[in-house]
């Protein structure tokens, strides 16, 4: 039954609806987002009765508030870290409410990037929960006049062990709140055998909202009086506005005003790109208004950038001596000895992130302060750039973090949030900046294009006696330092300086390349192209030697040992090499396991089918993947099955972990099949999912079997490490099926005949 009511006079509709709109509806407008907390932005957990630390609050009704300080972009981290707190607190998960932290340095690192949330915060979360638990125990003991040692916790309850008396957490919250917060040394963490949630996991806290349309992303943020903006960015990186035409745009229904944005001052870092913003009553009007702006640009020096020419230059550089970043034995003398050598060149183009939610941010500048609502991986970086752009103190920038509709690294660069803040100051209202998909594809921080040259000297059995690998790519550091042309240790380490092979003569080099677009990190970053080159070359050598690729790979990995990387610069993803050594035995184990799980060498495959393998360590996690492909007479490639084995140490949330590796296979399928950004005259040629296709349901792996290897190692990453081995295993499988070796990505550039 339709119920019709007039809701147009509701205060929060002012400025939301188009001018003169009469809206008839029942409960059609969601409650104002976050408005209650807009003033200081602190989560409700802060206001609870018991608030022992930044991450926990307990109310007298027993509600436990746990603050998620990392961003939720699909990894379920917003659930998994609070789950660790709840475990140590012995809290009933059904009575837990999760609150998203604003950007605040007190939480520590909030840049949800680099697959390290669990690794970096497991202990912090455990201690946060254990501290609250101890306070509740002490409160109960005080009430009962018993020693603490006679009290224990059960689910959401403190129990007096001798008498069975018990008090709920809510009943104890007031008493506990008057106790001193225990010191770290006083805490006793649960033994793993007593864990309730760690290692078992829970579904996403937001699951029900996500399937009913209630989940709130950055795209859904709204406040009273806000306007919408869409920005015409310089088509060439570093370009500037010369002129534009206001008249036609201002005639578009709903367009309010046109606002130029200054170009950035190099280095670009996270500054807005500049351009011309159309401010309107709704997103559609802002998009429409852009079409008649007719901006004339001064394109600047990057106008000469042509990705085809650039590719050839990179490939030439890759064949010249580069900067040596790791050197063992004497590669050159082995190469001149006159034995058998083999070399191959590999290439991976620029890649775009293309998260399903295009970039968007809402910001309000008021009384010298900015309040922003953004799907950001890095709210503290939002504070930094907004404070710089507006010349206000960092603590005058409040950044609320919404759910992120995908991110993959793009949303840790907050240029789009800075745009909203800059525009709000100019317009005098809250402004929501919405990027179109075309903006998203054309103005990304691309995963860099890379050329890799590989060379091996081979013994009579085809095993390398010397191994040279050289990569050339414009580095990510170029966005912070325009003169940067070499890879930094943080990216060279990614599957490159740590090539784990037992080869006595081994040299790793890196050549120079200057960037002409913004370069950034994308899910698994340099591991994508480095892993592709190393694992493809390994497979090539195996086939040339007439050996089984799995046996050959295990032979190159060699015996179980800790890699000695002390003579190269190896940051080990920011982790201690003592706690997280590079253990070849773990890479061997996942390789052996995946071969077994996939039925390697045992399964009968049909015509046009093939299996490929690759193994790779990234973000401290060891992964091996077998991909099965079928190629039909038209050269169309199906992926019926993927098996992947991971050793990521301790796993908090196994189901979420499996999902990450299923997703990584699809992400890798997109990279291999069609991932390619190109440029002519400095202008990016792709624009949307028609010319930057990503894998669809019929192009993705049909079935990805994820096997988690039992491991007593400390926790490592799970968001990114599935991508690199998938990419090479996929192209290796295509070779197995067709005899065609893919040395350059993407596959869409190659025609596969029938096998």
């Amino acid at each position: 039954m339709s119920q019709v009511i007039n809701v147009s006079r509701r205060g929060f509709l002012v400025g939301l609806a188009g001018a003169g709109a009469l809206i008839l509806g029942a409960q059609t407008v969601p409650k104002l987002l976050w408005a209650k907390k807009a003033d200081n932005g602190s989560p409700h957990a802060d206001e609870t009765t018991l608030h022992p630390n930044l991450f926990v609050g307990i109310d007298t009704d027993g509600t436990v508030y746990i603050v998620a300080h990392r961003s939720e972009m699909g990894t379920v981290i917003r659930t998994s870290l609070p789950l660790v707190v709840a475990d140590e607190l012995d809290a009933d998960w059904k009575r837990v409410k999760i609150e998203q932290a604003i950007g605040d340095a007190r939480y520590g690192d909030q840049n949800t990037d680099g697959s390290h949330s669990v690794r970096s915060f497991l202990e912090v979360m455990r201690e946060a929960g254990a501290a609250a638990r101890l306070m509740l125990i002490r409160a109960a003991a005080q009430q009962w006049g018993t020693p603490d040692s006679e009290c224990r916790t059960d689910l959401h309850t403190v129990v007096h062990t001798l008498t069975g008396r018990h008090l709920g957490y809510g009943e104890l919250a007031s008493t506990a709140s008057r106790l001193p917060v225990p010191r770290k040394e006083e805490l006793s963490l649960k033994p793993p055998a007593s864990w309730r949630y760690i290692g078992k996991g829970m579904p996403s806290y937001d699951l029900a909202d996500m399937v009913t349309g209630k989940a709130l992303y950055g795209m859904d943020a709204r406040v009273a009086g806000m306007v919408y903006a869409s920005i015409e960015h310089p088509p060439v990186f570093g370009g500037k506005v010369k002129s534009y035409d206001e008249k036609a745009t201002l005639k578009v229904t709903g367009v309010r005003q046109i606002v130029p944005i200054d170009p950035f001052k190099p280095p670009a870092a996270f500054q807005p790109l500049g351009g011309v913003a159309v401010v309107a009553d709704n997103t559609w009007a802002a998009f429409q208004g852009r079409k008649s702006l007719n901006v004339v640009w001064d394109n600047g020096p990057n106008e000469s950038y042509d990705s085809d020419q650039y590719k050839r230059a990179l490939q030439q550089t890759a064949r010249k001596p580069g900067k040596i970043v790791r050197n063992e034995g004497d590669v050159d003398s082995m190469f001149v000895k006159g034995g058998k050598t083999f070399e191959a060149d590999y290439y991976v183009p620029l890649l775009a992130h293309a998260p399903m939610e295009p970039l968007v941010a809402l910001a309000e500048f008021k009384d010298g302060k900015v309040t922003a609502w953004a799907p950001t991986q890095n709210p503290q970086a939002v504070q930094d750039i907004v404070s710089k752009e507006l010349g206000i103190p960092k603590d005058h920038v409040i950044c609320h973090v919404t759910l992120l509709g995908g991110a993959f690294g793009r949303k840790s660069k907050p240029d789009y949030v800075a745009e909203a803040a800059v525009l709000s100051k100019k317009v005098g209202r809250p402004v929501k900046v919405v990027w179109t998909r075309e903006d998203d594809i054309k103005f990304d921080y691309y995963n860099t294009v890379a050329a890799m040259h590989m060379k091996a000297a081979l013994d009579p059995k085809g095993r390398p006696t010397a191994w040279l690998q050289r990569s050339v790519f414009p580095p990510i550091t170029s966005i912070f330092d325009v003169s940067a042309v070499y890879g930094d240790p943080g990216h060279l380490q990614q599957g490159w300086t740590d090539v784990p092979y037992a080869i006595p003569n081994l040299r790793v080099e890196n050549g120079p390349a200057k960037a002409h677009v913004r370069i950034g990190w994308l899910r698994s970053v340099a591991n994508i192209y480095h892993g592709f080159a190393v694992q493809s070359f390994t497979d090539e050598l195996a086939h040339r030697a007439g050996r089984d690729p799995v046996d050959y790979l295990l032979d190159l990995i060699g015996p179980a040992r800790k890699l000695d990387l002390t003579r190269t610069s190896y940051p080990n993803y920011g982790a201690s090499i003592e706690t997280y050594p590079w253990e070849t035995g773990r890479l061997r184990r996942v390789t052996e396991m995946v071969a077994e799980k996939a039925g390697w060498g045992k399964r009968k495959l049909g015509k046009g089918a093939g299996l490929g393998i690759a193994a790779h360590r990234s973000f401290l996690t060891y992964v091996a993947t077998v991909v099965e492909v079928e190629v039909n007479g038209q050269g169309e490639v199906r992926i019926p099955r993927v098996d992947t084995v991971l050793d990521a140490g301790l796993i908090v949330n196994p189901e979420a972990t499996r999902a990450q590796f299923e997703g990584a296979a699809v992400f890798g399928a997109s990279i291999v099949r069609s991932g390619e950004i190109t440029a002519k005259h400095g202008v990016i040629q792709q624009s949307n999912f028609n010319d930057y296709p990503v894998a669809r349901i019929n192009e993705a792996p049909y079935q990805t079997n994820v096997h988690i290897a039992e491991s007593s190692a400390p926790p490592a990453g799970v968001g990114e490490p599935g991508v690199p081995p998938f990419v090479a295993a996929f192209t290796n499988a295509i070779f197995a099926a067709t005899g065609k070796r893919l040395r350059e990505l993407p596959l869409s550039r190659t025609t596969l005949g029938a096998s």
């Binding site: 188009g18 399937v211 992303y217 509709g405 299923e662």
Partner: protein, 152 residues
């Protein structure tokens, strides 16, 4: 004035007739469950149902759906098929970031309404217009099959 019936509720709106239904839903009415992904009917994030059939609201002028029954993710749970699909999505933990899932669910519910026992090929054909960048496709397929089974 455009008169729209959305999830059983009548709305009378003063919007340009060529404004896409997507932005009318999101910016004018405030139903934000329907998502913007591409603006060109390439990704399916904006999928809603019009008279029970899935359509891409980002390229559908609001004037073209006046007087028709529009169902969005906020309303699909009121139908038996929509409810089953949402339950299957939950049971199999389909979403990762979740952003595309409104569109996926609207498309899947549309598929099952006309084809209660879809084959793999039927699922591919129907769902290929809906992109999930997180890569939840195998769970989407499994959830569609689970929802189909429950209708038996």
């Amino acid at each position: 004035m455009v008169r729209l019936s959305i999830n059983g509720t009548l709305h009378q709106l003063d919007v340009p007739p060529d404004m896409p239904l997507l932005w009318t839903l999101r910016d004018v009415i405030g139903l934000t469950g329907t998502k913007f992904g591409c603006g060109m009917a390439l990704c399916g994030a904006c999928t809603v149902q019009v008279d029970g059939l899935p359509i891409r609201s980002c390229v559908t002028p609001v004037s073209s759906v006046a007087g028709k029954e529009i169902t969005t993710i906020e309303g699909i749970g009121a139908t038996p098929v929509g409810q089953r699909v949402q339950e299957a999505w939950r049971a199999l933990n389909v979403p990762q970031c979740g952003y595309c899932q409104s569109g996926q669910i609207m498309q899947a519910a549309g598929l099952l309404a006309t084809n209660p026992k879809p084959s793999d090929q039927d699922i591919d054909t129907s769902m290929a217009g809906n992109i999930c960048r997180c890569g939840t496709y195998q769970r989407i397929r499994a959830a569609i099959k689970a929802a189909a089974k429950e209708s038996a």
